[in-house]
Amino acid sequence: MPTVNRPSRSAEATFRSSARLKELMAAHFTGVDRAAREKSAPVAWCTSVGPVELLRALGYQVFFPENHGALLGASRVAGEVMGRAHALGYSPDICSYLTSDIGAYLARKSPLTRYGLSGAPRPDLLLYSTNQCREVRDWFEFYGREWNLPVVGVTSFRDLGEVEDSHVEAITRQLEGLIPALEAVAGRRLDAPALEQAVERSRTCSDLWRDCLNSSASRPAPLSFFDATIQMGPAVVLRGTAEACDYYRLLKAELSERVTAGAGAPHRERFRLYWDGMPIWGRLRDLSTLFASLGTSVVASTYCNSWVFDALDPRDPLRSMARASLELFIARAEGPKQRYLERMAHEFSVDGLVFHDARTCPNNSNVRFGLAQRLRRASHVPVLVLDGDLNDLRCFSDEQARTNIEAFVEQLEGAVPATAGGGHG
């Protein structure tokens, strides 16, 4: 699910804090790479909403392959390399992060070269949670076989209606069961205060990031979805660290200034939209520019809120990690998803919802079981469905997307007149 560190190329105003963001992300990539090369710290790969706090507490340097997948999409390297994975038996219909990343490994290509890395840093262990999808496990197991490394993880519940204590208990037991393997590779015992600190930092980061996102409930919204996909970098790859918390304090202050000044992103905000589903990484700039040109701001998204973990509690680290992992939107059934979207539409005062139906990401495409139609009927908020993909741009038609978006904005303008008659030729 994750994010990209690159200069803001959207149509929107540049953030002052972006300079610090770039430094942080560069330090993250080079730090993990150095640890991998010099063996100065254990290195783990972790899924983007996986139990990273365990790794932080054990002194791991952590790399997030989904972040790499997003980088491959945004840099459009994905299209060059995915075919290598397809030829290996990984279908074009499965997660294009997976096929991009494995393809990039096989082709020895990576956007991380801009940070001086030759590619994704080689880990000592891979840790997944299937709370988001099964693909992450298959993805990590490829590398486990390739490098003969331990692959451990949580096989989570999916499509949960209510998150019940029995679910939380079961995941807590699995987290406990992971600890010996993580300790063995790290060469040290898990220290309870260190875990509590990591969970506390994750929670603080989550709260600050949520505050940043919620600033766009203001009119005009100071932070668009497109910029948020870049700004969320530290919430993904530095969750559980003090640096991430510091960064979001900085960003939050800047957003408060923007709200006070009435500065919106984009500058003109005739309409406010909500984005559900994955970003289309290779078209972020184009879409940002298009929406801005139509005076339309995409003010909130399910995606960027995926790194808000309200349940995290340092007083009960493992159990709260388990609950947080299960409460995520992506792990929930249609009922909670609809209630969440209705609440967000209301809180952010949106004029319409855009659903991205990502061809290779069924788990984060929420239009395939009638949700968009039910939501439209229940809330009377207009909805638009865009066909596309996170990384595989062959599944995306620029022209059709443009027409769909323009037509949706025309619809919001109430463009069609009520008058009939006259065309009698």
Binding site: E410, P417, A420, H424
Partner: protein
């Protein structure tokens, strides 16, 4: 040549570029159609020349020229533009009051547009990135059946046996048709099966409610699509005059409405 003010609409489609001229009183004065070919701008210029000649109207009398269709942004001397979703809804509303559903089947895409009782567009759906359910699919089928596309309607009229084409995509359906030909199935039955396939794909896109209006080049030239649509939804389907040019008509009305505002 008349110099009374009028409003032109150009619909730059994937196969054809259509144009319509609406006068100040809201009458459609003339329409024209040319092949789009590889030069969208040249086609637009040609269709406007044809339109004005047909209408007997001087270019200087055109108060505004609005565009729609996939090439709408490429036409340089356009005053403004609207998407084809908007243009088709507007065009249909000149003939039928809402609530209505517009089913537009063109060369490269199919659309379902829902309009409420007040004439406001409330939703739209376009086909996915696939030719199934569009004119391109029928062209492919005509090729497989070795007849010109223009001969497909007459061929299908001679059908006696109902055949279901089960494949989802155009390429697979082409292969399926070749297999059926080898089995000895009649081209007439396969032609009708191709039309049924188009209708099925289109109706899978969105629920169809209220008065149904069908537009687009496929509807205008392949009446069997309308017949099969009516069978499938169990009610009458209205095909407006200028079914193929309805986008151009709609966007010309948009130009006129803007001038009046």
């Amino acid at each position: 040549m008349s110099a009374a003010p009028c409003y032109a609409g150009v619909d730059s489609g994937s196969w054809n570029t259509k144009a319509a001229l609406v006068d100040a009183a809201g009458r459609v004065v003339a329409t024209a159609i040319v092949r789009t070919g590889a030069d969208v701008r040249a086609a637009a210029e040609q269709v406007v020349r044809d339109l004005l000649e047909r209408a007997g109207v001087d270019r200087s009398a055109v108060t505004a020229l609005w565009t729609t269709g996939f090439g709408r942004h490429a036409i340089l001397d356009a005053t403004s533009s609207r998407t084809e979703l908007d243009a088709h809804a507007r065009g249909a509303l000149q003939y039928v009051s809402g609530p209505l559903t517009v089913i537009d089947i063109g060369g490269q895409d199919a659309k379902i547009i829902t309009v409420d009782a007040e004439g406001r567009r409330v939703s739209h759906k376009m086909n996915r990135k696939c030719a199934a359910g569009t004119g391109s699919f029928l062209e492919e089928m005509a090729l497989r059946l070795d007849v010109p596309i223009g001969a497909l309607p007459a061929l299908a009229q001679a059908s006696r046996e109902e055949i279901e084409l089960g494949s989802f995509c155009t390429v697979f359906t082409g292969t399926e048709v070749l297999g059926l030909i080898r089995q000895g199935k009649r081209p007439a039955d396969l032609a009708r099966a191709a039309y049924r396939s188009v209708v099925k794909r289109v109706l899978e896109m969105e629920r169809v409610e209220g008065t149904v209006v069908a537009t687009g080049g496929v509807v205008a030239h392949h009446h069997m699509v309308v017949e099969l649509l009516e069978q499938a939804i169990g009610s009458r389907v209205i095909v407006p005059r200028y079914a193929q040019e309805i986008g151009a008509v709609g966007v010309a009305y948009a130009a006129r409405a803007a001038a009046a505002a």
